[in-house]
């Protein structure tokens, strides 16, 4: 099992634009980081949308989907605001048929029963990132575990030495503010080895092996 993190990043290092909020977790202009993905047939199909193109990013996306047996995400990426889950608990951003179609483990401080929506089961993990990694590894069986974001979740896995790979989708925009991925990572704590580079329309996919 490989635990890999992947996230889209602006050329000046931001994974979300300025003025992030519960309603707009990507921040101002943050959707620009994901346009290369939204344009792909391979992204649109599992999200129930028609059309789209196929280019060098398609293979990168297809590989990521194929290898992922389970996912981990931070509470902010799942959404729903701070505090306990309430009487009409937040169901995530993805409606009744989330596109994941694999078990997803959400890092949170608040206990909650698992949530099944379509082919995706969300499990809420309160025992920390290591417990989430173990549960996700079990659920992934022979496949890999993806830490899908946000920045804070990825930083924690990098700093704890639990991430084996990091893939950055670098988009040629400048934000000048927002949430930076690599600012909170201890620079002496990890070593990166560049393992693959894919040039694609409007994005470069940079993949690194992480040693801690």
């Amino acid at each position: 099992m490989t635990l890999f993190a992947e996230i889209a990043m602006s050329l000046d290092g931001y994974v979300a634009g300025p003025n992030q909020s519960e309603e707009n977790p990507l921040g101002e202009g943050g959707e620009q980081l994901h346009e290369w993905g939204f344009a792909l047939k391979e992204w649109r199909e599992p999200h129930g949308r028609e059309g789209g193109e196929t280019n060098a990013s398609s293979e990168v996306l297809a590989e990521s989907l194929e290898r992922t047996g389970a996912g981990i995400m931070g509470r902010k990426m799942f959404g729903g605001g701070p505090g306990p889950w309430g009487k009409e608990p937040w169901q995530g951003w993805w409606g009744d048929e989330p596109p994941f179609k694999h078990p997803v483990f959400v890092l949170t401080h608040h206990e909650r029963e698992p949530l099944v929506l379509g082919d995706t089961e969300f499990t809420f993990v309160t025992e920390g990132i290591e417990a989430a990694a173990e549960q996700a590894a079990d659920a992934a069986v022979e496949r890999d575990v993806k830490v899908a974001g946000g920045a804070n979740a990825i930083q924690q896995y990098l700093d704890a030495g639990l991430a084996d790979e990091l893939e950055l989708h670098v988009v040629p925009v400048l934000f000048g503010g927002g949430e930076r991925l690599l600012d909170s990572v201890d620079p002496g704590g990890i070593e990166l080895e560049q393992t693959r580079v894919v040039e694609a329309p409007g994005v470069t996919h940079l993949k690194y092996r992480v040693a801690s």
Copy 2:
């Protein structure tokens, strides 16, 4: 004539490490940004050193050398400390035979007569970045003008809308501090279009067209 800027950058966006000084303008660990270049036969030869390898970076370096008819650099990259030039003025970091072998225009606030060392002539420009670009364009004749650094000089050309291209040599190290290239650039002032990506050992070369 194309005015292009190129510089090596850590994955977390730094072009120099922490604790830069007049004696160590690259900052702590900053030499790691240039190891991919030092390893190349195509770099070692013009610097009077033997050996070296040839890989995907060789062509990138050769192209840059070939197209450059004149260079521009900031005063800090030329070195020599602040203030006027003194009775034994600083001759730059490169000894009697600087590797440039094209006219180099140094941005400074202090007038100084041109300095000829080997096949390189340094001209000291006190009239600002636009004047330096014009003089360099004249000197380059049919070829291009390279803004070689440091960060501050590149930022000024980007912000003034005078740079046509930006090439970043992205190295898989994290500095966690130092001098960032893109922090002082007005993010609303420029648009970047990715035009070429080259994967090479220990570095990725990312080239962008700049529109302002």
